[in-house]
């Protein structure tokens, strides 16, 4: 059995099917044989009936001729008909009596049928029929078929005994050829089967090889196939399977190579491997996408963080210079965002206005020097600062961009304006324009950086403010020092002023005291009312201080002189001092004459504030005047004379002055005190002798005079004569800058009215150049002397 199990299909079929087919053929032959025997026997039986019928007709004919019943005639007559076998060798017809006696039979006439056959015959009780019986002979027992028919006229059976073996003799003769045919047919069939099975087997072989390869994980080639048989289907399926596997393997390989977009179709919806691979691919894809996203997120995070670090560094480095800070921040921010321009504004919140000042701007890789101030709420930047919200525009108004590259580049497309705020306090605004849109993380980044910038701006602002305050306080300190100095100077001035005033006051007090003790003093206002008065006036006029104050001075003036006084008063009011003799009527008609000076007093504006009256009582004089009018007139005449003399003397003095002036221009003039003190030397002294004014003035003649030193006796004499009122001349020479100068001096003593020496005038002449004309000069001098004598 094992060997069989190991056989391949073709062998099995050959082993099993071919004998089976042979057997089937054999069985079919046997069955056919059996059926043909029966058929043949039946045919023989039917033929026997036909033969019997014929024999009956003959019997009828014979009966007819012979009379009724079986007679010897009949037997005779009939014997002929029964003497030959009907069809075969031993099937002789017979006429059988009821008892089974062969009435007529070719060979057995007089014999009898075996008893049991006769009994079966009787039992059959039918007119015609057949029955099998064994014919027992001496040698053999032969099976025979007895076909019979009852023939009434004879009361006997017409029967034929058929031997089946005889009948079947023909058939037996055909059996061998039949067997040969069967064998041939079997062989043919087996061959055909073999031929038929061979390709099947081969295909199966291929299939099995491929299946085997498949089982071992190989992927075999396709099986050639062209039909739709089961094997074809099987091959197709296998091919499909191979294709599927190839595809799947390729798919798996692609997955392995991370090519997840490979177009893979599963073999069917039930392709578990395919579906599983697809799921795997999908999950890989998801994982990969997840990874991608994570990677991207990581990149963004790293971009974000390194940006934060970078700007942190920038902000930390330049936190004392706002402009450099702003430049660096905006430049690096624009670059970091891959934008093309940007500006940073600082929020100014001073006393007068709130605005945003462009600290720095940067465009097309260049710093731009633009000055710009935006009011809070003005434009996008101002709005951003006011609302403290980021503004992001994907379309910029064409006129918005204020920086153009000048190189014909396109205008930026998107604009990002971010407030620099710290806890809702605004410190500035950053504005960035770019050709690209700003992704969300960049906006977040700028916002985040914005906080840091705001913090730094705040601290820088604070630093700057602190520095400013420091500078300011320094300046204020200096100013304070300057002001303190000024105040000290003011103080000094006030003190000096006060001291000066004190000094003057003391002086004035002395004067006032002297006046009050010796003179009458009154203080009047501009209406002429007495404001103050001194005791001498009280004594003179006889009124007390209280009585006088508030009184009009005019009321004290003698009525007949009041008109004159009014005139006088007006003059004083006009600002002039007036001296006059006033006739006053005092208490109890006491008449008093005052020689008084009325002086107006002005304030700083030059406005009249008071009038001062100073005078003394001249009543006694006046009385004397009146008592001796004559005398007075004389005095007046005298006064007139004196006046005239005075005029003359004035004239003389004038003349003298003129002369002196003339002298002054030509001569060396010096003036000495009686004691010899030189009080004045004129310019000629300086010019001619080179004497310095300050060297000579204030010195005594005897201390500097050449004569006084070298000839004291002569000088003494000379001096004495001068004191006696005698003019003295002398000549002397001296060396001035290496040049000998000759001077003629003429000393003239000046006597006062009492004849006492008052001054000595020395007139000197430079006679150096005229020494040879001395005589001539002497003449001029003597002439001059004469003139002087006159």
């Amino acid at each position: 059995m094992k060997a069989f199990a190991n056989m391949n299909l073709a062998q099995r079929i050959q082993i099993v099917i071919i004998p089976l087919i042979a057997m089937l053929f054999a069985i079919a032959g046997l069955i056919l044989n059996h059926f043909s025997k029966t058929q043949t026997i039946n045919t023989a039986i039917i033929e026997a009936y036909v033969y019997i019928d014929k024999l009956e007709e003959f019997a009828n004919i014979v009966e007819g001729k012979t009379g009724p019943g079986l007679s010897s005639n009949d037997i005779f007559e009939l014997k002929e008909y029964f003497s030959k076998p009907a069809f075969r060798e031993t099937d002789y017809p017979s006429l059988l009596s009821k008892n089974g006696e062969y009435l007529i039979h070719a060979t057995r006439q007089g014999g009898r049928l075996p008893l049991e056959v006769v009994q079966n015959l009787k039992k059959a009780n039918s007119k015609q029929g057949y029955l099998y019986y064994n014919n027992i002979s001496e040698t053999k027992i032969e099976k025979r078929i007895l076909v019979y028919k009852f023939y009434k006229p004879y009361n006997s059976w017409i029967a034929i005994s058929i031997s089946p073996s005889e009948v079947l003799k023909q058939i037996r003769a055909n059996r061998i050829s039949m067997i040969l045919i069967v064998i041939f047919a079997s062989l043919l069939t087996a061959f055909i089967i073999y031929l038929t099975l061979k390709p099947v087997s081969r295909r199966l072989m291929h299939l099995s090889i491929r299946l085997k390869q498949l089982a071992q994980g190989e992927i075999p080639n396709h099986i050639k196939n062209g039909d739709r048989s089961e094997l074809g289907i099987l091959s197709d399926s296998l091919n499909k399977l191979i294709d599927g596997l190839k595809n799947t393997t390729e798919f798996a390989r692609q997955i392995e190579q991370n090519k997840l977009d490979f177009n893979f179709k599963p073999l069917s919806q039930k392709d578990q491997l395919g579906m599983a691979l697809i799921q795997m691919r999908d999950s890989l894809k998801r994982a990969f996408e997840g990874e991608q996203i994570r990677k991207q997120e990581d990149e963004i995070r790293s971009w974000f963080n390194s940006g934060l670090a970078m700007f942190g560094e920038i902000l930390r480095q330049n936190n004392n210079n706002l402009n450099i800070l702003a430049d660096n921040v905006i430049q690096d921010l624009v670059n970091y965002l891959n934008a093309n321009q940007g500006g940073i504004f600082m929020y100014n919140d001073n006393d007068t206005e709130k605005n945003l000042v462009l600290l720095s701007s940067f465009a097309y890789n260049r710093k731009k020097f633009i000055h710009k101030t935006i009011m809070l709420g003005e434009g996008l930047v101002g709005t951003c600062a006011l609302e403290k919200q980021t503004i992001y525009l994907k379309e910029i108004p064409s006129d918005y961009i204020y920086i153009t590259s000048g190189l014909g580049e396109a205008t930026p497309k998107s604009l990002l304006i971010v407030p620099l705020k710290l806890e809702e306090e605004i410190f500035g605004v950053i504005e960035i324009a770019s050709f690209n849109e700003f992704p969300k993380h960049q906006i977040e980044f700028v916002e985040k950086i914005g906080e840091s910038i705001a913090t730094t701006l705040n601290s820088v602002k604070n630093n700057i403010r602190t520095r400013e305050l420091l500078e300011q306080s320094q300046q204020q300190r200096e100013e304070m020092a300057a002001q303190e100095e000024e105040m000290r100077q003011n103080m000094e001035e006030m003190q000096a002023t006060q001291e000066e005033m004190q000094r003057k006051n003391i002086e004035l007090e002395v004067i006032t005291g002297a006046i009050n003790q010796t003179l009458i003093s009154l203080s009047l206002n501009d209406d002429g009312i007495i404001v103050e008065s001194n005791s001498i006036f009280h004594e003179t006029i006889g009124y007390s201080k209280s009585e006088l104050e508030g009184m009009l001075l005019e009321n004290l003036i003698s009525p007949d002189e009041r008109k004159e006084f009014d005139h006088l008063w007006q003059t004083v009011l006009n600002g002039q001092s007036v001296t006059a003799t006033l006739h006053l009527i005092g208490n109890s008609n006491r008449e008093r004459y005052l020689l008084a000076t009325l002086s107006p007093g002005f304030d700083t504006l030059g406005l009249l504030i008071k009038i001062l009256l100073i005078g003394h009582d001249v009543t006694e004089t006046k009385k004397l005047e009146f008592m001796a009018l004559q005398q007075a007139k004389e005095i007046e005449n005298n006064l007139q004379t004196i006046k005239k003399e005075q005029e003359i003397s004035n004239m003389r003095q004038h003349e003298m002055e003129t002369l002196l002036k003339a002298l002054d221009q030509n001569c060396l003039v010096s003036i000495l005190e009686p004691n010899g003190l030189i009080t004045y030397i004129n310019n000629m002294n300086v010019v001619v002798l080179g004497d310095k004014k300050e060297d000579i003035e204030g010195k005594f003649l005897k201390d500097i005079d050449y004569n006084a030193k070298n000839n004291p006796k002569e000088f003494e004499r000379f001096w004495k004569l001068l004191h006696d009122g005698k003019k003295q001349n002398r000549e002397f020479s001296l060396n001035v800058k290496g040049e000998t100068k000759w001077i003629l001096e003429n000393f003239t003593p000046i006597l006062d009215e009492k004849g006492k020496l008052y001054k000595i005038i020395n007139i000197g002449y430079d006679i150096t150049l005229n020494k040879q004309k001395e005589q001539e000069l002497n003449n001029i001098i003597s002439q001059l002397k004469e003139q002087l004598k006159k």
């Binding site: 000094e492 001035e493 000096a496 002023t497 002005f602 504006l605 030059g606």
Partner: protein
């Protein structure tokens, strides 16, 4: 702060004055003792020096001496200082010169120049500026430099504007009168820089010179119609005052006017040579 310094004695002052006199052309011998003592005290305190060191330094260091001299002088002034004086000038004094062809004015001791600019502003308002020749002198070259610049602190000197209003815009003799003269006509106020800056037409007009009243006499080849010497002689003693009065008297035209400070008066020999009109002294 170091210990309280010894009070400067008369002897100290004498040493100081003599040292200055012997090493430079300055002469403080006739300055008011009391004032000079206080200034010396201040200098000793400011430089934290004792007298001996100060005197040594003065002898050795000319620059230091100049500096000390500058610090000794007092330079108090302001725009339209003592408005009543300016009213007097406006109403009683300057009108006298209306018929003059030229008006020579000498600001003796002009300090940092405010008085000079006040005068020019007033003259301009009275349409006399074209005729005026302004001379201004001071001992201290530092303040002269400020005077030439014509730039002053603003906040510290807000009083200037009051004075300006009082003198230029109002007339005390007529309260209804109001001349709306803008400040910008004469100076620019910069509140940020804290400055008052005189206009160029004012700063370029005066002749500023260094001058020592004690020794220099009249350094200009001119006589004057008006000499202003305010709050200067208070630092001088009686004798020096008289010398200065003589100098002024001799360099004034007849009827020329000497204007002294608010609390300065001429007493003594020169009193009779002038006629007084408030702070103005008119040469007889």
């Amino acid at each position: 702060m170091a210990t309280q310094r010894m009070q400067v004695t008369d002897q100290d002052l004498l040493y100081f004055v003599n040292t200055i006199k012997s090493t430079s052309r300055y002469d403080f011998s006739e300055y008011s003792d009391k004032s000079l003592k206080r200034r010396l005290q201040k200098i000793l305190e400011d430089y934290n020096l004792d007298l001996t060191s100060l005197l040594t330094n003065l002898r050795l260091d000319k620059d230091f001496l100049e500096k000390v001299v500058k610090e000794i002088t007092v330079n108090t002034t302001e725009l339209f200082r003592d408005p009543p004086v300016w009213h007097l000038l406006r109403s009683r004094i300057l009108p006298r010169f209306k018929s003059n062809k030229t008006i020579n004015i000498w600001h003796a001791g002009c300090s940092s120049g405010q008085e000079v600019y006040s005068m020019m502003i007033l003259l301009n308002e009275m349409e006399l500026l074209d005729r005026a020749k302004i001379f201004a002198t001071d001992l201290n070259t530092d303040v002269l430099e400020i005077a030439k610049q014509g730039v002053y602190k603003y906040r510290f000197n807000l009083g200037y504007l009051d004075n300006f209003d009082k003198v230029i815009k109002h007339n005390p003799l007529n309260f209804e009168e109001y001349n709306d003269v803008p400040y910008e006509k004469y100076f620019d106020i910069d509140k940020v820089r804290d400055t008052i800056t005189m206009k160029k037409f004012l700063t370029e007009r005066p002749i500023f010179r260094k001058h020592d009243l004690v020794v220099d006499g009249n350094i200009f080849f001119a006589k004057f119609d008006l000499i202003l010497c305010r709050n200067v002689i208070i630092y001088f003693n009686y004798s020096l005052q008289n010398k200065v009065f003589e100098l002024f008297h001799s360099n004034l035209y007849p009827k020329g006017i000497l204007l002294l400070g608010m609390h300065e008066t001429i007493l003594g020999p020169w009193a009779t040579r002038f006629e007084r009109l408030g702070q103005a002294y008119i040469k007889k």
